[in-house]
Amino acid sequence: MSAPLLEARGISKRFGGVQALREVSLSIRAGEVYGLIGPNGAGKTSFFNVLTGLYSADQGEVRFDGQPLPLGVPHRIAGLGIARTFQNIRLFGAMSALENVMVGRHIRLHTGVLGAILRTPAARREEADTEARAHALLRYVGIDRLANQQATHLSYGDQRRLEIARALATEPRLLALDEPAAGMNATETAGLRALIEKLRGDGMTVLLIEHDVKLVMGLCDRVAVLDYGEKIAEDVPDVVRRDPRVIAAYLGREAADA
């Protein structure tokens, strides 16, 4: 197969006494849905934060489409084509759904101060195009009828969809979703699954953190498992499911929690 779209090598990250990531290496191929699972506190979100530049890594590097990623500089990483959603939804609450998606276009737009003030033909065209694309993305995720609703007034499931639309607005090549099904009911989860299938069908590469095992196993081409910041398995779902270390990690934690 072709070279991986994303290749992380030896990523480590420490918070005080907690080793959140321990030399994590993984590679994601273009076009696949790649699952990242693990018990609570395993370091999944930390990995996302490093990958999208919100945290810098203590060690390691990430190559994206062959180029090293500027870790720690989120807007440049977004520009290179990695977009994400958040485990605890982070929308721009006072804005409408449409405006939220329009903000996602920011890095693809060029209007500066003068262009905005003079409303040059180029600025006007860009603005109209931004709005049209934002509507198209809301339609894509199925919430265009809510375009002019305030983001915080959307239902939980719709807020998750809106976050996906906003991420897509940056024109990513890799879409990273942090527990998109968390808090969703069965119908909403089924809808989400259909949406991710549609994304895959349209050629998007998806990195998915998820606790819903059924969703992960049914959707992902490959799955990696983190435990205490360490990658303990990486394979197709059927193999990972039977891996004794994975079973031990989950059962061990559950036994300890009980």
């Binding site: 807007h75 929308l91 609450g93 006072a94 804005m95 101060v113 905005a116 003030i117």
Partner: protein, 366 residues
């Protein structure tokens, strides 16, 4: 169907235009020309409040030192349009600098904008209370500099301030002198009014255009959730610096106008209380909502004058003597107004529609 609201809007704009055009004559005829002067000041406050609104209202960066940029604009104008430099440094200035207003105001805007970026750069990682403290310190530093830069070289003339500042001249006519137009004597305060009004309208226009743009959205995004804004590809450093710089620019222009209007500047006019006053205009009026901010500025600019005018006679007729002097009464009423507005209208007197719904929703949930 579609022509009707458009026509209505045009009619509204025309009415407002006529009202603004005759305002100084109506006010002057009813209350006297000292009230036209007060209206002129209200226009300056509108500019200041709109500038601060970019930083506080749009980008959500609490700035308690904003008046420093007003001071920068005012002193720059004062130095370039008064005999002070020629008196203090006769070796350097053979004649007093007399820069024309069309050169001083843009320069003041530019220099104030640079000061804005200078303040913004070291505070980029700060938010909320911490940012407020640092900006407060910055405002005080500027004021203290102005107070003390009279030795060893007398640049600002210290606490005495700078006198004899030339009024702005347009078409060879100084705006503090009356002008005969079509047989009507138009007093200087009226001329200043039209000059200030033109610049205020320009500031409003720029604010509206910026708000409805990629940059305005980026500011609000940072205010609403900085982490998400960064993940969306917004270069938060640049966009914040832009907010600080542009906001300061308006302050610099207003400061220049103030200096030319008063003919005199001193550090006293640029204290912390002035910064707080402008911040209150933004917060009371409706943070981030341009019409609300304008309303806030007008109300708070007129309130003290109305009190000065009415407080003494009203108290005398009620109690036979003056119990509270107008200045204390002003601060008292001001405090009460703040508490009342924050309690019952936390988003301000005239908040923007979406924002209002947001706060209503929070109320329901609580």
């Amino acid at each position: 169907m579609s022509a009707d609201p458009k026509l209505k809007a045009r009619l509204g704009i025309a009415l407002i235009g006529v009202a603004l055009a005759v305002l100084p004559f109506v006010v002057g005829a009813t209350f006297g020309n000292s009230w036209v002067r007060i209206v002129d000041f209200a226009l300056l406050y509108i500019m200041l409040a709109l500038g601060l609104n970019i930083v506080v209202g749009f980008a959500g960066l609490l700035d308690l030192g904003y008046i420093a940029f007003y001071a920068v604009g005012a002193y720059l104008y004062a130095l370039l349009s008064s005999p002070h430099l020629a008196t203090a440094f006769p070796a350097l200035f053979a004649v007093a600098p007399g820069w024309p207003v069309w050169a001083v105001l843009p320069l003041g805007a530019l220099v104030a904008g640079l000061f804005g970026v200078m303040l913004g750069a070291p505070t980029l990682k700060l938010r909320g209370d911490y940012l407020a403290i640092v900006t407060l310190g910055f405002g005080e530093i500027i004021r203290i500099f102005l107070n003390n830069l009279n030795a060893p070289a007398n640049i600002t003339n210290g606490p005495q301030g700078i006198n004899n500042i030339a009024a702005a001249q347009i078409g060879g006519h100084a705006l503090n002198r009356p002008l005969e137009l079509f047989g009507v004597m138009v007093p200087g305060v009226h001329l200043q009014y039209y000059f200030f009004l033109a610049l205020t309208l320009l500031v409003v226009f720029v604010c509206v255009r910026l708000q409805d743009s990629r940059l305005g959205r980026a500011w609000v995004a940072i205010r609403e959730d900085e982490v998400a804004a960064r993940a969306c590809g917004i270069n938060t450093r640049n966009v914040k610096l832009l907010a600080f710089g542009l906001g300061a620019t308006f302050g610099g222009v207003a400061g220049g106008l103030f200096a030319g209007f008063q003919g005199f500047v001193s550090p006293e006019s640029f204290g912390l209380l002035e910064s707080v006053m402008v911040l209150c205009m933004v917060v009371l009026g409706g943070m981030g909502h341009i019409p609300g901010v304008i309303l806030g500025a007008v109300l708070l600019a007129l309130l003290p004058e109305a009190l000065r005018w009415g407080a003494v006679p009203v108290q005398q007729s009620l109690f036979g003597k003056v119990l509270i002097d107008p200045e204390s009464l002003r601060l008292l009423l001001f405090g009460i107004a703040l508490v009342v507005v924050m309690r019952w209208r936390p988003a301000g007197l005239w908040p923007s529609a979406l924002r209002k719904r947001e706060l209503a929703a929070h109320g329901e949930a609580a």
